[in-house]
Point group: D3
Chain length 326, copies 6
């Protein structure tokens, strides 16, 4: 069955019961409060990758607990005044790679910041940022989805989301950047991170959320056995006595719960044949999304979503959203 | 066995017996002669894909028998005088996609021309150029490798190589382009096409040939059953009476035979775990390559070769080659 | 899930909304009219394959636009008067092979004509007939399902169905054949072709339609990702902007629409575990079939349907149908 | 590696050390002696499968220990005098199916006898003959290759080879058959059985041995993990203490040992990409074959060997061999 | 779809229509009667496997028709008086292995008897007991599920269930064993056998039935294509004319029918992601189970069920059940 | 090719060039020195898992840097005086599970200690011990093989080997244990750990080393693409610039280098079809092993090696080795 999930008409109105603990907002308020306390000025080092028409900076900024997180800042060489900035988060397993892997938004006239994802970047695009665990690292299924999963405080994505939050804080204060025009962008894990930060940060002007991961975990593991959601399944299969604990922790990191709190305009995308991030998990987040929103549905696509066709949609959406505000 | 091909020390000196028919050069001389007769001025239509810092043209030029072939020409917005130009050929099954899929070389300050591959572009990146067959199309195995394979005159790659040849002829005459500085580039099928044209055309200044396809067919089909080389195997399996005819035709299109005729400086790359274009087929071409040459060997990579690491090598190589000439 | 499609009780009454354009009948009327204009007498060449008890002819007849199509005509050596004739169409990817691949119907006392499928015959059984495209060949996914799919006029199966139509016209006029007793037969693609011709031609006396392909494309691509239906999915995945055009073209070639116009008695077969031609696509055609009809349901079979068990059903059905008429 | 076995030049002269026990000939002499003691006249029952131009008989003959074995005898309807007869053995897992599955040799003017393989016929073509074990059935890996494998006396193929031997004895005595012109034929397991009987019986006039199975077990299990040879591997993996016993038993049933004793002219075939019956196991038998012999080599084929192309070779070979004798 | 079967709330109340022939009870009564007639005293041979703290016996007892069946009896070295005994049946394809493969229950203070499964024990753990067929062995799909399946009298599991029945009869009479405290245990095939015997024998005090196989065949083959249930599918696919006969035979061996007759307290387990023994087939048996019962549901487990977590549940359940009786 | 590695006769004498840095011994001397400084008395907590005939202790001991490592100590209930002790290390991905998963050696009359592997135990058997990284955790490929791989100081297995070293130190001092009779045992990763410790510790009396992992990495990644060795390949594929660094680090943890330093008698085992730990990597260690040694070769086994057959070999070997010393 290629259409293994719900029919489209059901997807469009799918609003599953949300599960969150009472202290969801407190948890994040306190996490942000603590993280902000570690803020330090970023270090921007100009780097030369033979690209004459862009300026590229190797950025080191302070993320969760002030830990050093890497990123690339890419600016068009020829520019006037402050620029809107697209802050981009990378898909699962990849790192920031090289600046020439990321030339779209600068070619389109925007500043572009690509955040390295801590600990990742050994599966496809290389990463340069270590993960720093506060505590001993409990047994986990290889990957990142069950790293520290027995407690929201120690869960891996708490650190990642705070890195991303601080990336926005940091980038929006740079002199080259128009702090009122920060756009978050990401696909898959990148989409999940962007979605979370758009709910946690007041500095986000628009959200581009493609085939997001990290949404509606409970259904995800019941409907797909593709990695990486299946890391959770494998963990629960071995740690039979910890299943409830796991899903409690995950509820603090569920895109559906962030969606219900987001406010900025957003453009989503979904592939109806996507078995990595099944359509119902994407629609659960989209349907709960509390800001202005639109979605592009790609009926014959898998996890690549709309690919280059959707790139054009995003370029249009960003241009329109900026111009409408003006 | 991950290292399923020869050991590296044998690869480095692998010079298998070349097989070509006596009229190899005549065949191509005549083909070029005929093709040139159809030359027409290209049509460049400026197109807007929301990319402020580059100029993009939808190019239609006359390829084999004057048939209309598509391409993108991408120029840096801010430039002085004529530019060196990288002419790029696409990998098997892909088309030219969209201009924002190709932003590397313009960011690096070069003109960039991407040729659409006739008939291809439905497997991954979309294509826009039809294939025009002169003759009825004999039964073939699905794909392009056995299209018209019973005769060198009707073989699909005769048309493709002439399109590519004419792309160089056409692009080098454009006013924005420095006709002395045409660099050919391509990976996999793109590398095979670039290799062929670097032997057939006198206008090529340098060659970037990554993990090339279309080289040493005979060994390829004996050492790998991965597609697309396996299209040949499948065809021979069904058309048992035509095996010799098939390999005779392929000899006119074998990168090994082109390599022995090429003259411009070249940078190759190879992945030692590449089962799509096995290392011995790449080294057969590289070792016969008659111009100045260098190769980057990636010992733990498959068909992706050196990926973004190799991009840097290419940027350096092109810069150095241009500057050495000056 | 082995029974991945509907339960049998739902299959039996499955009558999905049919979609066809208003000019469906005109399109075919005109296509037939044009094709008939090219009619030429067939050439029958006696061939010797060491088969003493049958006579075998290599037939060349005029198909779509009078293009030369191949076939085998096999007659029992010992016979009296004109014979009923089974006209057979081959499954996807196969060609006409050799006469000794087709000995059933002559052993049973019938004439037997096997039509080569243009362009096919390199995947399993060899073919000898080229495809002749009228127009340049737009980018397509390797195979035949998306060849010329952007326009009903250029679609590959327009040519195939006309070849098949002309096969019936031609064979029924041969002196050895009883023109009143033409039976069409085919499995999978062969079944789809036979179904189409049984609706388009008035010369068909009975239809044997096994596990037919080319029926109810829209559902097919949503319920199975097996080739060859998946060629359509892959094409739509890359050519996101052409999805509607594709399904519009396919509607002119949908077995469901032909079934609703057919009149002769028919025997169908279906495998309930068939993931190549899923049961609901077969039942959609069967339930709409407008002539007298019967179906054999094989609950534990895949695309092989009833195999040799069903051969017996066909032998019986043909004998009975002929005798009832007399 | 597609050519996973030896290079062709090595295959052509491959003569591995043969291993057989001293009593090999005694074992078979005694087995034959015992089996012959059970001989009974066969029962031929005429059956009607709607095939007007052949006569079909459901044959029951006495095989190993007089057990009742099934077969089809197919005769051309129109014939003069006694006919040469092709005795055919079926591939692994298949049974005799239906008469209309076997129409080649009668169409070519020969009598044709197809022996059902005891116990088989539930994987693809149905069988009708039970296996009768003399003794309790020791634990075995599912399939037939390790059935009774701990003792040559109880090994499954002892019974099968005797059935086949008796088929020849029985058929050659029928009034419709020319007892001087018995040709054995089979592919894969059928080829292995035919090879064994051609060594054991003096009544065989020629052998058609395609991609034979049951040859050179020791190498087979080291070079391929495809079923059915892998049944032996699986058994040895579990019954680690019985490995030597297994290979001792198998030595009595090794085609290589039979080949060294055969005398009639033979036509072999081999696919160089065959991973079911790897080329070196076929060549081991062929190179040892003691009669006149020829082999057709199919360089790009798997276990299908030369398919329909090879059918023609067999038709020619049989015709020529018969005519040379006359 | 990972949850490919019904939702849990439906599973809990799933009571499909049971199908059994009228003579179900008579069939088993007569079978037991006949089997008991062959009873002989078991032979216990003490064996030394270097295990100082247990006593191990190689047991040979009389099973179906008095045929010699093997087993291991393992007793704690240090013990007082008669012991409760766990009688264990092995999963599909495995044999009794070695005593040190079975150390749980003796460590826990119980006697432990492991029955070898006739004919099995060549896929993973070795077996030592042959199968003795009464009659010739009809063609079957490799494996055990279709061995003798055309008649309940000849069906393989009739013999296996009687061996298991006699194991209980035999073991409960040993001097070291407390005949009032026989607990049956098994997973997968072992669970299916234990379930059957718990219905057929009055000597069973408790049942441990993990992820049972041999339950609700009709649904099993429609919902999973995993082996071994798929052996039935493959057989029915080839023997199209025998489908009804097959399912009639299976009805005499269906765990659902035995469950409805069982009386002793039972602990079941099920993995909701089990595609070997799908949850609905387990719940069909559990829901019909007529004795006191409980079930442990493992939501993220496959056929391993609760693994070592469930071992603890079984240890507790047995202890509690024994103590409650006292 | 099933025998994908060298022929057995080559394996037997395979002594590849060893590569180690000059400070190999210093590195380990210093690591041990530092680790020992953290020694603390272990905590033994008696636990009840319903096993009457063994005593089970939940052990917490101080491993690398005094970090708390878990283990099970299992003692026969009925015993006299101090016992020899088997210290066991677990295979890759597994944890210590439950005491009843480990009943062999106590049944055989030995003390048995099973060390939990830090961070592991979420793939199959559950683990309870966290990994504590000293430093930030650099990007790694999911799993454990590339954790901290850029520096021998931070490499994951430095911590694991020290835990194992300290396990021996700790266990040998317990009052119940005969400190002169410590036997190390493990399969796969467990075998690799045991091998390392047998070289690093003077307290080991014998080594049982089954199908060891962590040996001859360089060849391993060239000859197999099975996990977990392939984690190294994947890492090197992405981090192309760090390949040399990786193999430098691994050289400090290569079983081949430990083997050359070991002194106690050892029993190895190897499966000639093992594609997880290929035979040549096992023989490289075995052939360099500097103590008395023997090896059992299982010609038709994969990574399961000799399974239960080999268990018997180990029981015998330990008994003999102990008795010879006395």
């Amino acid at each position: 069955m290629v259409y293994f999930d719900m029919p489209l008409e059901d997807l469009r109105k799918y609003l599953p019961q949300r599960y969150e603990e009472k202290d969801f907002d407190d948890f994040w308020k306190q996490t942000i409060h603590e993280t902000r306390g570690y803020f330090q000025e970023p270090i921007l080092k100009k780097v030369d990758f033979y690209l004459q028409n862009v300026e590229t900076f190797d950025v080191t900024f302070s993320g969760y607990r002030g830990q050093k997180i890497k990123g690339w800042l890419i600016l068009p060489k020829f520019r006037n005044g402050k620029l809107p900035c697209v802050v981009e988060f990378v898909g699962y397993g990849g790192g920031r790679g090289f600046p020439y892997d990321w030339l779209l938004w600068s070619a389109a006239g925007y500043a572009h910041f690509i955040m390295d994802t801590r600990g990742q970047g050994s599966n496809w695009m290389k990463g340069d940022t270590p993960d720093y665990e506060d505590n001993p690292s409990d047994p986990q299924y290889p990957g990142f989805l069950t790293k520290g999963v027995l407690n929201p405080e120690t869960y891996y994505y708490r650190r990642v989301f705070m890195d991303a939050f601080m990336a926005v804080e940091t980038i929006s204060q740079l002199e080259q950047i128009d702090s009122q025009t920060i756009i978050l962008s990401g696909a898959s894990q990148g989409g999940g991170i962007a979605l979370a930060v758009s709910a946690l940060s007041s500095k986000v002007m628009a959200l581009l959320c493609d085939v997001p991961f990290l949404c509606h975990y409970k259904r995800a593991v019941q409907i797909t056995d593709s990695m990486p959601y299946a890391e959770i399944t494998r963990y629960c299969k071995t740690h039979i006595d910890k299943i409830q604990t796991v899903f409690r922790t995950l509820s603090y990191f569920d895109g559906v719960n962030f969606a219900a709190r987001a406010k900025c305009p957003a453009l989503f995308s979904v592939g109806l044949m996507d078995d990595i991030c099944p359509p119902s998990t994407v629609f659960a987040a989209y349907n709960y999304y509390a800001g202005e929103k639109d979605i592009r549905i790609y009926p014959y696509n898998n996890h690549e979503g709309g690919g280059s066709f959707h790139t054009l949609e995003k370029l249009k959406f960003v241009k329109k959203t900026i111009s409408m505000r003006e």
